[in-house]
Amino acid sequence: MSAITSQDVSAIADDVFAAMVDGEAGTIAPWPGDVPLDGHDVAAWVDVHGPWRGRASLETSSDVAAGLTRALLRLPERAAVSDDDLVDALGELANVVGGNVKALLPEQGTLGLPRVAGALPDDPGAHPVQRLPLGWRGRSLVLTVWAAEERNGVAAGAATAPGQEDR
């Protein structure tokens, strides 16, 4: 079992937003109160394979996803965002978070390629290790680190659907 703490995930989020998204520190904070998950219609995730199997995911609304894409590309506030750029940008955010989560693990595995969809795929075998609701520019997003359920000492799989294996 990993010892990934909420402080670990928070520190990763702080670094990612300061260096990649906004170019300055302090632009994200814990989300106060309940997160309006109904409005979250974009999910980006990357799976970790190996001795520890799990996933890092980012869920948010399409409006926030577009805003994040503009920020990453340094586009004007109301610039149009293509679907390709949005998928690319959100996937890369998940990829960087996932890579940094993987670096915390005592035993190294491999990182899959990032995926982006309207929602995370169902995986009854996965459970959240850390769930971090965050506020960015007054809107919510959720970073979650998931671990695959272990059965008989072997990780049960990190919800990679057949045909989606990357390596």
Partner: protein, 120 residues
């Protein structure tokens, strides 16, 4: 002018890498590749002065790219820019012949710290 090949399957990340190079003061001529195979083909066609490559890419990974380049006799200075910066991966990168590994997320200062010693 130094010519750099930036290989990453994310167009957004390639743009961020190029922007960060500029912010770090490296006003280099840039060409881009979307995976390791494209990068290998680009080096074969017109070898750049330096390659900055992601690690985890479809078709051909950055590590496979570096090993292929060295196997073909290309000694092109090579650095990784990757989300995976563990000690194990840094060791693998060094053993394969990489000069440095810059972990994402990165800053212009991280680019300067990694690249400037290689230019001396």
């Amino acid at each position: 002018m130094i010519r750099v090949l930036v290989a990453d399957d994310s167009r957004v990340m390639r743009q961020i890498v190029v922007r960060t190079l500029r912010q770090a003061g490296f006003d280099w001529e840039v060409c881009e590749a979307a995976d390791g195979q494209e990068a290998l083909d680009a080096v074969r066609a017109d070898e750049p002065d330096v390659v900055l490559s992601d690690w985890n890419m479809p078709v051909m990974t950055g590590l496979e790219l570096l090993r292929a380049l060295r196997a073909e006799g290309f000694g092109t200075p090579f650095g990784f820019v990757t989300s995976e910066g563990s000690a194990e991966m840094r060791q693998m990168a060094e053993e394969a012949g990489a000069l440095f590994l810059i972990a994402k997320p990165f800053t212009p200062e991280a680019f300067r710290d990694a690249i400037e010693p290689c230019l001396a």
